[in-house]
Amino acid sequence: MTTTALELPANVATWQRLCAKADLVPFSGVAAWLEAPSGAAQVALFYLPGHTPELYAIAHADPFSNANVLAYGIVGSLKGVPVVASPLYKQHFRLEDGQCLEDENVKLRSWRVGFNGNEVWIAT
């Protein structure tokens, strides 16, 4: 298997396939189930065609409600930085690293992701 198609620098040993590119919704989010050796997790995947990077992965769980909903928030940018707004209580989270903009003490888990052909791969 080759990982050269990955846009992100690949640490070969830890990358795994997550879903198909066709599963993504442009300019919005979808949730994926991640089964990794370190444990399972719910991942919110965001796809912004034409932007750099195009693909982001942060935790799907909203820390303010404990509900798994962040993939369903509205995606946008604040001061040029891509964010998602929680659909429940509207806090913004930076797609790049999961940082909450309203509360500096809250930062979500984030993953490195990239395309491998028509597949989405994730580093765990």
Partner: protein, 841 residues
């Protein structure tokens, strides 16, 4: 952590001023030097006492709180709420509470004051209350439940506020004042007389020159007040509001210097007679004065901070000018309002007994400086007069022009005329100069200026003045005052609406490309995307689930269901007019059973099925649509319900078929997207069982047709709808509503309900009538055409999605795994499901 090197700072009192000191400490990074412990006797953390009365108008302890729940924890400050300090041991430098002794290096008293209850015999009886804390208000609320009337003892500022609160609790209210007039501190005899008239006109009884001798058990009511001349007044409850007294008991007991009439004596550094102990706020006595307002307390907190950290700031007194709206009556007092502190002062007075307005100026003997002013009935001149007073601006040649009505040459002090030293926000000590430096430092809009200076984040009294100064200064610097929707569009919602219509723009990406932010900003955000989605839907009514529109929608619209707090969704089929066949009721029951949904009759006369899992939504809707249901748009900023009463078909009083009309209206306007949600009501006669006058559109049957009421709502700030047109026939009714709603959709701001829109319309209801009924703008036909387009293009969004496998792909919990979200767990209550884990929010 090196606790040994930190000094222990204890603050007694977690009220407004004590909390302000904590904020100042946090901001000054003083927590690196001090380890801070705050003791608060009240159960709640610090809250906004100034707006205490809002507690009776929908605010709760949480909305009144001055900081979020974990503010103290986050900054490493120990807050012990509900724990009073009972003694101070100055020798040991310890405070004593019920839980033990705590050592301090520095101690701050911020214990505020308590309401003074005159030593009247019987004042301990049940039903005798005070008005200072949230607990006091709870006590008043519960006493009011079994009461029909109430008396406030004390006709000062707080007394009138308490009387208003009693009125709000549906009690007949009276105010008993010892002095010959109301608000003796702020107004003179003439002003007091006017104030009394105005307040009596509002249905509050005012008794002046009344000294209560004793309180005994009543005959008709719970209590009876006996006055000096043996006259009596029966009442169910009494609220004492006869002034405040400093809570100096701890200070007295440990022999700190106390003023003759109470109050802990402090110097300019807020130090008491023991240099280790400071006092701030209403407990402190500075230069023989107690300051019963929050702004001077905040200034003391700043001085105390400087004393603790070795800074320069000192407390040098404070202006006690006040502007109030009491029971809807304006009262303002500036400086030496009575004119008795400045020998030789001259006075100008203006009294209009018809309009019930009184204004007084106190002017220096040479007529050049304003020394004080008093306003009753209209505070319009307050801001201008305060600026003359506070900044020593020279008065115009005819000072009277400042208080006379309609004199076109009355020099209004615009923001430009104010000197840099002009105090704009006294709570946070922000001058006009401070605002200018904030702007020069890069703050380029109101929000940023509030953020850097904190102006207008205290009592809020300076909001209008602040905005006018900010707008003026920004414009003077060539900054166009920003009315942009958000950082992606420099347009108002109305401008965007016009662009979309005129240019026929059909997608968000086209709009942002042509008129919005570029590059990395071109993503939009959670403000502009739903707003544009709504505009596009209002104009073209394409399904919101089309691929181009999907990323724009609020989550609820994306899934055509309301998201609940545990990540499940609610299903609300349309039940037009509240009418439903038994067959359909059965189907709702079967679907709820099959998918384990909680069912409830809503406040909108329909049935809500809660707790649906994302992946079940398509199947649920498939079954509902097969049974003839369609979407109820409970998720959308769109028409919700048309509530009806049973009307002439069944009711002995009904004069028209209100159910039939409600159903017709609901089907006509269903699916109409608007700046906010829209609700209708239709009643079959004037008894108004459908509560139509609390709706955006209210229709009430008459013998001759329909009366139309517009722009009401319930919710956070209820407003009655206003009568708009009478005796309309069916066609005229549709036409008028078509025009009105389309005009609203065109011109309202985002998330502005019809009531707020109507309040902000220049020219008010009359203007609206001209545009809609008389067609003064010549828009009528166009508005009707647009509405007809929306009506003709209606599709049930769920029916549209059910047939489209592409659209259904979104309804999976995980795109790569068939399992449902395993963390949604239900339990049961009263025989129905409910979320098992309550959220941490």
């Amino acid at each position: 952590m090196t606790p040994a090197t930190k000094l222990n700072l204890i603050i007694i009192g977690n009220g407004m001023v004590g909390h302000h000191l904590v904020e100042q400490l946090v901001e000054a990074d003083a927590l690196e030097q001090f380890s801070v412990t705050v003791f608060g006797e009240e159960r709640q953390r610090a809250y906004d006492r100034v707006h205490l009365s809002d507690y009776f108008n929908g605010s709760d302890a949480e909305t009144l709180a001055l900081c979020d729940a974990d503010y103290y924890v986050r900054h490493g400050v120990t807050l012990r709420s509900g724990e009073a300090v009972t003694a101070i041991d100055r020798e040991a430098r310890e405070v004593v509470t019920s839980s033990g002794r705590y050592g301090y290096d520095r101690l701050v008293l911020a214990t505020g004051s308590y309401p003074f209850v005159p030593p009247i015999e019987g004042r301990e009886r049940d039903g005798c209350l005070v008005y200072r804390t949230l607990d006091d208000l709870d006590a008043i609320r519960s006493a009011a439940e079994h009461a029909s009337n109430g008396v406030v003892v004390g006709g000062g500022l707080l007394g009138l506020e308490a009387a208003n609160a009693l009125r709000g609790l549906n009690l007949d209210a009276a105010v008993v004042e010892f002095a010959p007039r109301l608000m003796p501190m702020q107004v003179d005899a003439e002003g007091g007389e006017l104030l009394k008239e105005k307040i009596e006109a509002l249905g509050v009884q005012v008794l002046t020159e009344r000294a209560t001798q004793r309180i005994e058990a009543g005959e008709r009511s719970r209590l009876r007040m006996v006055f000096q001349d043996d006259k009596v007044l029966e009442t169910d409850l009494i609220v004492f509001s006869a002034g405040i007294r400093p809570r100096d008991e701890l200070a007295r007991a440990c022999d700190l210097a106390i003023g003759e009439r109470g109050g802990v004596v402090i110097d300019d550094a807020c130090q008491t007679s023991d240099p280790a102990i400071l006092a701030i706020g209403e407990v402190a006595l500075w230069n023989q004065s107690i300051f019963g307002l929050v702004a001077p307390g905040y200034q003391m907190a700043k001085a105390a901070l400087a004393t603790l950290l070795g800074g320069e700031t000192r407390f040098t007194g404070a202006d006690m000018s006040t502007k109030l709206k009491l029971l809807g009556v304006d009262v303002g007092a500036i400086g030496d309002a009575h004119g008795n502190q400045n020998p030789g002062a001259r006075m100008f007075r203006y009294l209009d007994p018809l309009k019930q307005v009184y204004r007084k100026l106190v002017v220096s003997s040479d007529g050049k400086k304003l020394l004080g002013a008093m306003l009753v009935g209209d505070n319009g001149a307050y801001d201008t007069l305060l600026q003359y007073y506070a900044n020593g601006i020279e008065l115009p040649a005819e000072p009277a022009s400042l208080i006379l009505p309609n004199t076109s040459d009355a020099p209004l002090l615009g923001p430009g005329a104010l000197p840099d030293t002009a105090m704009i926000c006294s709570c946070h000590n922000v001058t006009k100069g401070g605002i200018c430096s904030a702007i020069e430092g890069g703050a380029s809009d109101l929000a940023a200026i509030k953020g850097t200076t904190k102006a207008s984040t205290g009592c809020g009294g300076c909001a209008t003045l602040l905005k006018s100064v900010v707008d003026f200064e920004l414009e003077a610097r060539g900054v166009e005052v920003d009315k942009s929707l958000c950082e992606h569009f420099a347009h108002t919602r109305q401008e965007l609406y016009d662009i979309v219509r005129v240019e026929g723009i059909k997608t968000f990406s086209e709009l942002i490309e042509k008129h919005g932010a570029k590059g990395a900003h071109a993503l939009g955000c959670d403000i502009c995307k739903p707003a544009v989605a709504s505009i596009l839907a209002s104009c073209f009514n394409e399904p919101i689930t089309d691929a181009a529109h999907i990323p724009l929608q609020d989550t609820n619209d994306t899934f055509m269901a309301n998201m609940q707090k545990n990540g499940t969704y609610s299903v609300v089929p349309r039940i037009a007019g509240g009418e439903i066949t038994p067959d359909k009721l059965v189907v709702l029951g079967q679907v709820a059973q099959k998918y384990a949904l909680y069912t409830k009759i809503t406040g909108g006369q329909r049935i809500d099925l809660f707790g649906a899992r994302l992946e079940d939504l398509p199947a649920i809707w498939g079954e509902l649509i097969a049974a003839g249901f369609e979407t109820g748009h409970a998720y959308g900023k769109s028409l919700r319900t048309v509530k009806s009463c049973v009307g002439s078909t069944w009711c002995r009083y009904g004069v028209q078929d209100s159910v039939g009309m409600a159903i017709k209206l609901e089907h006509r306007y269903k699916g109409l997207r608007a700046p906010h949600k829209i609700k209708f009501g239709v009643s079959g006669c004037t008894r108004e069982c459908a509560e139509a006058q609390s709706k955006d559109i209210g229709v009430i049957a008459t013998e001759n047709g329909w009366n139309l009421y517009v722009c009401g709502n319930g919710g956070m700030r209820p407003r009655h709808a206003e009568l708009f047109a009478t005796d309309l026939d069916d066609e005229a009714l549709y036409r008028t509503i078509d025009r009105l709603l389309m005009f609203y959709i065109r011109t309202a701001d985002r998330l502005q309900r019809t009531s707020v829109w109507r309040e902000n319309l220049d020219g008010g209801l009359d203007y609206l009538k001209e545009v809609i009924l008389d067609d003064s703008l010549g828009l009528g036909a166009e508005l009707e055409r647009q509405m007809q387009h929306v009506v003709d293009h209606y599709q049930c969004e769920w029916a549209n999605a059910i047939d489209d496998p592409e659209k259904l792909k979104r309804f999976r919990s995980f795109v790569n795994d068939a399992r449902p979200d395993p963390s949604i767990i239900m339990t049961s209550e009263r025989g129905q499901p409910r979320p098992a884990v309550t959220s941490s929010h």
